[in-house]
Symmetry: C2
Subunit: 219 residues, 2 copies
DNA sequence: ACCTGAACACCGTTCAAGT
DNA sequence: ACCTGAACACCGTTCAAGT
């Protein structure tokens, strides 16, 4: 059921249609032809509003950030950034293949800029130098995007086929335990520790380490 | 000039052909048909040796790690891990689109396992707990992969068209400085700091922060 | 100014058929 | 056991032509 736009196509309508196709079919199913169909239009028409698919994905990247919310400014900087990036991860997890779409795209769209501005303001307020504040936003952004990219990609073909993450993890643990103990003593012994932690726990561990590391840069 | 294999195709020969195509054409140019052509064979033949393209990419991921070298065990744990992941980044940067191929793939191939085993051994030796050692390998691996993914992806269409990274960065700085200062005071003021640092500097900053963070977990 | 028809040069994958 | 021919159902993009 295509959503009709009053006059004809607009750049914005194309992006919103792309977001609907993404949610329905995933990145791999996101084609110019399907976006066009979503708007009751032929694929060639899109090229009047958008240079090519890459540009559409750039716009989509920013569109995915449109309704992201920065958490309230309460508590010390550390609590704030814990909340901030935990919410960012949740936001990305909430839209299908978001990390894969955004992967390696530098955020220069208005919504992403709004976020970066807000982060910089909080980091400066916390006492970080100009140079460190800019480095910190890059580091934290890279971490969350990289992490969610791993998280949103199925571990194995089995997971794609619908097997639950927990089951896949136990299968991997079995696999590790079955390795030759002479060459892989740690993998065999730590199979449980390697596959046990949830993604929430892994994310929290990494985030806390980065915050610890940033803390050392404060006077 | 296809490299001939004595009997016929082998799984391994397919993977090595894929690596050559990857180096020559990049991920976007890596098709089953081209890999087949590289071996003087038709695309359908590949499916006898490999389930589908996804499996080929899984094998390719591990193949990309085949000649990665772990640096010597000299100095304290911190110096070792600095070397380790600096070398890992360089390794990935050395093969075209490596991070994009590996993105979100869990490393379960033999070469990747060899690396993880070595890391775990060093982390345990340094005094980290079993649980922290496994978390640390995941964190560091995620960081480097995520970082290089950003690094290997062109910032803008201009960069794809051949404009140098430095020039693109200055263009972005201009763009940021031209933003409305009322809504984006920090982006305007810190435009230079945001776009100035090299990728080497950014990587080192993040790595040091993570190592700082890990250090807090030692007794 | 904006959209379409038709084409070009590709894809991944399947499967009956060959050797 | 291994490879091919031929087809199916797709792609992104271009461009002359229509309105």
């Amino acid at each position: 059921m295509p959503t009709e736009e009053p006059p004809g196509l607009t750049r914005d309508a194309v992006v919103r249609a792309a977001m609907r196709v993404l949610e329905r079919e995933g990145v791999d199913g996101l084609s110019m032809r399907k976006v066009a169909a979503e708007l009751d239009v032929k694929a060639a028409s899109l090229y009047w509003h958008v240079r090519d698919k890459r540009e559409l994905l750039d716009l989509l990247t920013d569109g995915l950030m449109a309704d992201a919310q920065a958490p309230p400014r309460r508590g010390d900087w550390r609590a704030q950034f814990r909340d901030y990036f935990t919410a960012y991860r949740r936001h990305l997890l909430g839209r299908r293949d978001a990390a894969k779409v955004m992967a390696g795209r530098f955020g220069l769209g208005p919504h992403m800029l709004r976020f970066t501005e807000d982060q910089l303001s909080r980091l400066r307020e916390a006492g970080f130098s100009d140079a460190d504040a800019t480095m910190a936003t890059y580091l934290l952004g890279t971490y969350v995007q990289g992490f969610v990219l791993q998280e949103q990609t199925p571990l194995t073909a089995a997971e794609t086929a619908g097997v639950g993450r927990r089951e896949v993890a136990t299968a991997i643990a079995e696999h590790l335990r079955a390795l030759p103990a002479e060459t892989f003593p740690h993998l065999v012994r730590l199979a449980g520790d390697l596959t046990g932690p949830t993604m929430d726990e892994r994310f929290a561990f990494g985030l806390e380490r980065i915050l610890d590391g940033l803390a050392t840069r404060l006077p």
